[in-house]
């Protein structure tokens, strides 16, 4: 099967992922519509990053269905990858390539034309303009996170997947990431943000899905997850 099979930006049903004897994801269902931003919350090992990697086309699902941009990630992997912009949870950068070379590689493989202006603007927005031609091996953790968000956003993907985009990032970087998410939503993209930072997640996402032990426990409106009441509700879901 090929071609678009879903109108949703992200549609996941009965997703299971197994590594050897370990079940990392044991049944996740998600739906993110175009223009919607959803946060993925949960404890360490809840299956958030594995779910993101499945959606990014890196890890094939053991069973279940996953569509991004309408494409089945198992059957139409390349089309799904074209639809996605992904910021991985760890590293995610080639150590001896410069940010500009990362952008060039991204643009060339996605067939982008005239991307340079947007690329420069994104680098400036994330305060990376001054290091655009230095290899990323010497970057701090926060700089690497910021560049990963830039790379995910460059081609204005129809699905934006951000895994721990705020981890170790300074307030300027957090603000810039918020702007990227808002831009993507305004552009009609579906956004999925995996993070441990509930406060930030509820500020920028309309809905929150909570994973526990590889399973989705609940999908709640962000309003219910904000403040002290939200923190109590979140703890209750994790317990």
């Amino acid at each position: 099967m090929t071609g678009r099979e879903s109108q949703s930006a992200i549609e996941v049903s009965g997703l299971r992922v197994q590594f050897g004897t370990v079940e990392a994801v044991t049944g996740v269902d998600l739906r993110v519509e175009p223009g919607q931003a959803m946060a993925l919350l949960g404890r360490n090992g809840a299956g958030k990053s594995t779910t993101m990697r499945v959606l990014a086309g890196v890890v094939p699902p053991t069973s279940g269905r996953a569509f991004v941009g309408g494409y089945d990630v198992r059957e139409s992997t390349l089309d799904a990858k074209r639809a996605v912009g992904y910021c991985p949870d760890v590293g995610g950068l080639v150590p001896r390539a410069t940010p500009w070379e990362h952008l060039q590689l991204n643009a060339r493989l996605r067939g982008l034309e005239g991307w340079e202006t947007r690329g420069r603007a994104l680098l400036e927005r994330f305060d990376l303009g001054g290091v655009a031609h230095r290899v990323t091996a010497g970057f701090s953790h926060g700089m690497q996170r910021r560049l990963s968000v830039v790379l995910a956003a460059l081609h204005q993907p129809s699905v934006l997947l951000l895994d721990e985009p705020f981890d170790g990032v300074d307030p300027i970087g957090v603000e810039a990431t918020f702007e990227v998410i808002e831009d993507a939503r305004a552009h009609g993209s579906g956004v999925l943000v995996s993070t441990h930072l509930r406060d930030l997640a509820v500020q920028v996402c309309g809905e929150v899905a909570v994973l526990r032990g590889g399973t989705r426990m609940a999908t709640i409106s962000s309003g219910f997850m904000a403040g002290e009441d939200g923190a109590r509700a979140y703890r209750a879901l994790l317990a």
């Binding site: 990858k81 996605v84 991985p88 950068l93 001896r96 010497g138």
Partner: protein, 515 residues
């Protein structure tokens, strides 16, 4: 090992106290236990170590009972000083190229532990034998010793030879820490580059002059060789003891130099990581773009650049100094290719590090990614082997047509073999490696020895085959063999490409490399 440079303000920061040595020995034991406990395939490691032990024992004993022709025996006796000197040369060169030798624990995981430079030094010494050049040369030396001494005096002279090997290995480590200390100092990289160039030039000049060549090995190596050949039991015992005491002194000196080197920041990496690389126009095709990024990953890495240049130039200079003829030069592409592929080719995906996770999400066919990586590996191997051949050809005279054909075919064939082996091993056994440090290797030390021996065996046989056919002046069988060997390599590359297209297999590699 991951040494955090310490402040040079402490007045005794470079001194080595006895308590520190005791603690370093204890830490070394813990680190060795940790390495042993975290082995992926402990049984394979035990078997490999048993094989190394058996080969060492056999090479040290069996040749003594072989009844050799007097002319061969005389040749072995003449070659003994050079074989002794070669162990020292290999120890020094390996330790310098490795920026202070091998690490018991990679820099990142080591950075959270209080591992002292003395422990680092002792760890590098313990791991020094896990080096194919060192192993082969030591086995060869033990064999020469057995041949020259015969069965009656075997035990005593082999102990002397082992004492020499130990002292030479420690000397290599001492020199390497000294060089590393200079390299990390002001204008250190330039000073070391000039020093190495001068040393290589002198060695080449000395080697090209037979009378002076004798002087090169006339020092301690000749004394030890004479003792092996006809020394009394007392003389052998005295020299063995002297070497062991000298080795002990060198261990302490090495610890001091390692401590001094640790007070300085490694400069190569810092320079690479802060240098601006002028942007170039975006290439016209995805493949060209990926080749550019992969090529940059090789040449901007300190250990890869240094290792490639060393492997390209050093054998060429040896060939130049020794005035090797074309029948021997045919063997060199195999030597260089099998050495260069060990720098990163046996774990090709480690060039991306954690960036592999992001690269894997880019919309491009897996085969294109693999072709780009194989292309870059092949061009590094071709380039290095070509430099060696060009240097070696200066004094080799005009090759016969058969010799010229053999060199070309050997070059193409061994590169094909090395690339296909690299692709296979990279998929089968990936490792998460940070190639920032000059001391990093793409796979654990023992695995590297296994790869190295297998490659050396394959490429040496290939070279010998072409050399023999060239000597017989048989171009057609040469072409036929080359076609068969290239077809085998091509088949293996295609098979590797097919495996790489499997998303499950690929995700497993990504999971390991980007861990």
């Amino acid at each position: 090992m991951g040494l955090v440079p310490t402040a040079p303000s402490s007045p005794d920061s470079a001194s080595v106290r006895l308590s520190e040595v005791r603690r370093a020995v204890a830490d070394l034991r813990h680190l060795l236990w940790f390495r042993a406990a975290t082995l992926n395939r402990p049984r394979v490691v035990v078997i490999a170590l048993a094989v190394f032990g058996a080969v060492t024992l056999l090479s040290a004993t069996v040749p003594a009972w072989i009844d050799l022709d007097p002319a061969v025996l005389a040749r072995a006796t003449r070659a003994l000083p050079a074989a002794l000197a070669a162990v020292a040369a290999i120890s020094v060169a390996s330790a310098i190229a490795g920026g202070g030798g091998r690490e018991l624990l990679a820099r990142d995981p080591a950075s959270i532990h209080p591992i002292s430079p003395v422990t680092d030094h002792l760890g590098a010494l313990v791991l020094a034998p896990l080096n194919t050049g060192w192993l082969l040369q030591t086995w060869l030396l033990l064999g020469f010793t057995a041949v020259v001494a015969g069965p009656e005096r075997l035990l005593g002279v082999q102990l002397l030879t082992l004492a020499w090997v130990v002292a030479a290995t420690v000397l290599g480590q001492v020199v390497a820490w000294g060089v590393e200390w200079v390299r990390r100092g002001p204008r250190g990289a330039r000073v070391v580059r000039i020093g190495v160039a001068v040393a290589l030039g002198v060695l080449a000049g000395v080697g090209a002059t037979p009378d002076v060549r004798q002087v090169l090995v006339a020092g301690p190596a000749r004394i030890v060789a004479t003792a092996i050949e006809r020394g009394s039991a007392g003389a052998i015992a005295l020299i063995t003891l002297t070497l062991l005491v000298g080795g002990g002194v060198l261990v302490v000196l090495g610890a001091r130099l390692a401590t001094l080197a640790a007070t300085r920041m490694p400069r190569d990496e810092g320079r690479q990581e802060t240098r601006a690389h002028a942007p170039r126009p975006t290439p016209s095709s995805p493949l060209a773009m990926m080749v550019r990024v992969d090529r940059a990953s090789v040449w901007r890495s300190v250990p890869l650049r240094r290792g490639t240049l060393l492997l390209a130039i050093a054998p060429g200079l040896v060939a130049l100094a020794g005035g090797l003829r074309w029948e021997t030069l045919i063997l060199l592409p195999g030597l260089v290719a099998s050495g260069c592929v060990l720098l990163f080719g046996v774990n090709l995906w480690c060039l991306d590090g954690r960036g592999m996770l992001w690269r894997e999400t880019l919309p491009v066919a897996p085969r294109t990614v693999l072709v780009a990586r194989a292309w870059v590996l092949a061009e590094v191997l071709f380039g290095a082997a070509l430099i060696t051949i060009v240097l070696g050809s200066v004094r080799a005279g005009m090759p016969t047509p058969a010799e010229a054909l053999a060199v070309v075919l050997a070059l193409v064939t061994v590169v094909g073999q090395a690339v296909s082996a690299g692709l296979r091993w990279s998929e089968k056994s990936p490792y998460a490696v940070d190639l920032r440090s000059a001391r990093a290797t793409p796979a654990p030390p023992l695995t590297m020895v296994g790869y190295s021996l297998r490659l050396a065996l394959t490429t040496t046989f290939t070279g010998l085959y072409f050399a023999t056919l060239a000597a017989l002046g048989r171009p057609l069988p040469m072409l036929a063999v080359a076609v068969v060997l290239l077809a085998i390599s091509a088949f293996r590359i295609v098979r590797a490409s097919r495996r790489w297209s499997d998303p499950v297999r690929r995700s497993a590699v990504v999971g390991v490399v980007a861990a």
